[in-house]
Symmetry: C3
Subunit: 390 residues, 3 copies
């Protein structure tokens, strides 16, 4: 044999000699049963819990969504406070379009014919005055409504308040109607069109399902039991599903969430991926811990008189903002999470012999016999190592 | 030796005696090859697939983004139906600002000089009447346009309909121009500024890249081939990249997604993290399964006449809503997913001896010899255990 | 014994014979220490890093949120350029309501009394002309302001420009006030109500915390040190926390992010899940790489004169858009990630004997003795396998 051949042989031995543990086969029903049972538990956990319940073999992606809404309905108001008036979509939806929410006006405080001028402040402890000395020109109280001019004027026959520079007459927002003006809004309907994408899976879907036809859409209305896939919702129904009363909520306004859950298992036939609707009030209705309860905002319509003077109608709009919140996670089989979870489970399989061995040498009847055959104690002068220390 | 010393020694033996499997080295090329090859497969899987392809060693975060848009362009319309009119940004972008979408008006039905009054309904099977008996005072048909006054009036020389209380004259939205009014909108451009954050990695970036200078931005226009990083888009180009025709889409409106994908691998030089633009129509253009195809909404401009009467111009606005949808996941090396994935892969390495042992005792030529040396059967009276049962 | 009994016995042996590795116990302090120390390292890693630091035992969910904002404050402007004017919320918040951002007007270029007519272009190299031959009827320059009529008119005593059909007079937006008009906006306050949900954990929370009462909310103002949970923010404070100067930013506008981080560990008492506020400018303030620096948009107020002619006031609004960006990930103990991470860690425990064995046969003093007892070399005529090849 040449030298290189010997070297090569050593390499082959090094690389390809296979080192395998010597094993002892023990025909013990008890130990065998413990071993198989432990194995069974681990396999059951992997199959039953990780795979079936938690779907840990799936890769996941979160939803991307677009929403358009279209409200339908009209109302006629005729209360003692206000003139008779007819309301349609262009009047009560503010702003006219938005991307995933819409606001329905239900109540309001209107202050018409405001112009830039001066007028006495609304009476309050900080604004009442006796004479001009109580008012400071140029002062602006954050809780007030304008810049003081330094004069003290008669607000009414009984009260004198500092005059302010502001849009006059001032808004008196304490006179909010107790019954919402547009209570008829409860019968308005809204069509919600929602289109979603799971970009990782290149999966697109709409909430108007393929099997839904045009004539059905013209007459249907969402109902959890009879029409769970109709995308047309009656506002009253939304509010009552959220556990609220429309009449109550309409007075001071509020924020209501229309939640669309697109959680899907894309391993199954994709047609099974359906939106699930739920409704929840998002602001706090309880007056405790609450400044400015409900939901309102101010906006103005500006007019120009013939002489060029600008007047405005200030509207403090109370109403319900409906937020369409789309969420969801889709899962689809993917090799990486599968491998990771299987690998983690395999680790537990490697615990099985540890359990069985422990049972073998401590609990089985013939433990001494098994121990003697399984374990060799290397005793010859090895003890000296320990003896040195002790 | 004292008693405590003996106790201490027993503890040392318990804690530090090392129990290692007895092994058998088998110089078989076949078995060795099977062993090494299986090992190689597992290592290749870990390195090649988990690390390189799936980047399983990375921790991930999803993008947080802000968008501002600015449309430029003007148009002149002069059709037989409408007066000649010049349109600029303040006229056709509604509402004037929004956070991640913008609406470009392309077509409309204008109903000027509406006032709160009464007028006969638009003719339809449910509104035509013969005399006042067909109309019920106070009835409001959801498909109608107002509250019935109980009178039956002449709508035209041929048709009589119930009179309603509403904004009159009523809108006739069936007369939608067949050619979009603002077809010139296709040449408008939009500048999209997008700033993103990956909070977990404290990574911020904008879609106006560092190497882009101001003079380039003044003249550039997005083009997938020549200017892939220019944030200025021609509307026509967006629509055609989405596979649609601007002229068609402009008539009835629609929703178009401008998708910006910020998926990034932050392990590499961060400068390589670039936005990828794509475009997709988000509403369903096919008329089937579609109520209210396209995209439109109504809004009104309110005017006050000299005598204080409020009039409005109702506009049913058709147009394209462009939704800027920003998404993406960034990954960066992190020790936890690395350890988890390596651990899972190691589990598979622990399977390798199982495979090799199985090959050893079933397929190799000298399986009897190997089995005899590897495995000891504990037979002495152990069988009795089974014999008891059988 | 019958045949079936023998068959059954073979099956029992097959299923329940327990095969366990023969082991060798080595009483070596060195090897034992290496073994225990390596074990200790792995356990420390699992307990310390994976569990405590990275909370890898938790399942996570991302936040879903709703925001409402309400700005308070008023201002009075009286500069040489403009008429004295009083501003309140309805004037400076545009649009009046939005879902997670609000725009505060701080500066503007107003062009009142625009009507559809024709007027000479603003002078620029491309619009100046000598006579009508320089102007082409119907041409619309994208950088211009209207459709050319083909006439060359006197813009001023020194300049002649092409006449255009447009809203006239044209806006001259180069005359932006150097000091922001509404500098007083820095003292406006905003109340941000934010309600969040982690749908996977059915966890809801608001940024107005349970222990906050109504009287506190009426007077508090956010301050990182003294009032970290007050949801009322002074605009000046927001801007300065973002490292910007309000006066500077107000001139040309900008986009400012109010980031609310709801990252929570839901394993602890849920009351500890608190919002963390931070502020960051989102647009690029540096003029380099910047077309249209700052943030502005155009909108118009439309008026109708007594004779029915429509006029408008065009406003180029500069201001600060505050984007409320809510993000966060909640974690809660879940069995699947726990199992996966423990499993992965167990894999590393299975590496420990490999390390100890390697130490045993290469570094320990009695390595020859140990090797001899541990490993059996199967040499009898096995070498022939290799000999055949070499």
């Amino acid at each position: 044999m040449s030298k290189s051949a010997g070297c090569c042989k050593r390499f082959l031995h090094y690389a390809f000699d296979y080192e395998t543990p010597k094993t002892l086969v023990i025909p013990s029903l008890g130990v065998g049963f413990v071993f198989r049972f432990t194995q069974f538990l681990v396999v059951m956990y992997v199959v039953g819990y990780v795979c079936v319940v938690q779907k840990a073999y799936q890769d996941t992606d979160t939803v991307i969504s677009t929403v358009t809404t279209k409200v339908k309905g009209f109302a006629f108001t005729n209360t003692s406070d206000t003139e008779p008036r007819f309301w349609d979509v262009a009047d009560y939806i503010i702003p006219p379009q938005s991307d995933h929410s819409f606001f329905v006006l239900t109540n309001m405080v209107v202050t018409p014919k405001q112009v830039q001028s001066h007028c006495p402040e609304l009476p309050s402890p900080s604004t009442t005055c006796v004479d001009d000395c109580n008012c400071v020109e140029g002062r602006s109280d954050p809780r007030g409504n304008g810049i003081q001019t330094g004069l003290c004027e008669n607000y009414s026959t009984t009260a004198r308040t500092c005059e302010v520079l502001s849009w006059c007459p001032l808004e008196i927002d304490t006179k909010l109607p107790e019954h919402a003006l547009l209570v008829a809004a409860e019968n308005f309907t809204v069509l919600i069109k929602n289109s979603i994408t799971y970009p990782k899976f290149n999966f697109h879907r709409r909430n108007i399902l393929p099997h839904v036809n045009s004539s059905y859409l013209k007459r249907c209305e969402f109902s959890r039991l009879t029409d769970p896939h109709c995308p047309i919702f009656r506002l009253k129904h939304i509010v009552s599903e959220a556990g609220e009363d429309f009449q109550d909520m309409a007075v001071k306004g509020g924020v209501l969430g229309i939640l669309i859950d697109w959680s899907c298992d894309l391993d199954w036939w994709a047609g099974e991926c359906l939106p699930k609707y739920s409704f929840r009030r998002l602001d706090n209705k309880h007056p405790v811990n609450n400044v400015a309860p409900g939901y309102n905002f101010r906006f103005a319509k500006y007019y120009k008189a013939a002489d060029g003077e600008e007047t405005r109608t200030l509207i403090k709009a109370y109403g319900i903002r409906f937020d369409v919140i789309v969420f969801g996670t889709a899962g689809r089989f993917s090799i990486v999470p599968t491998i990771v979870n299987l690998g983690a489970a395999l680790s537990f399989l490697s615990l099985v012999p540890v359990v069985a061995d422990w049972f073998l040498v401590t609990c089985s009847r013939k433990r001494d016999l098994y121990s003697r055959h399984k374990t060799t104690h290397l005793t010859e002068d090895a003890d000296s190592l320990f003896s040195v220390i002790v």
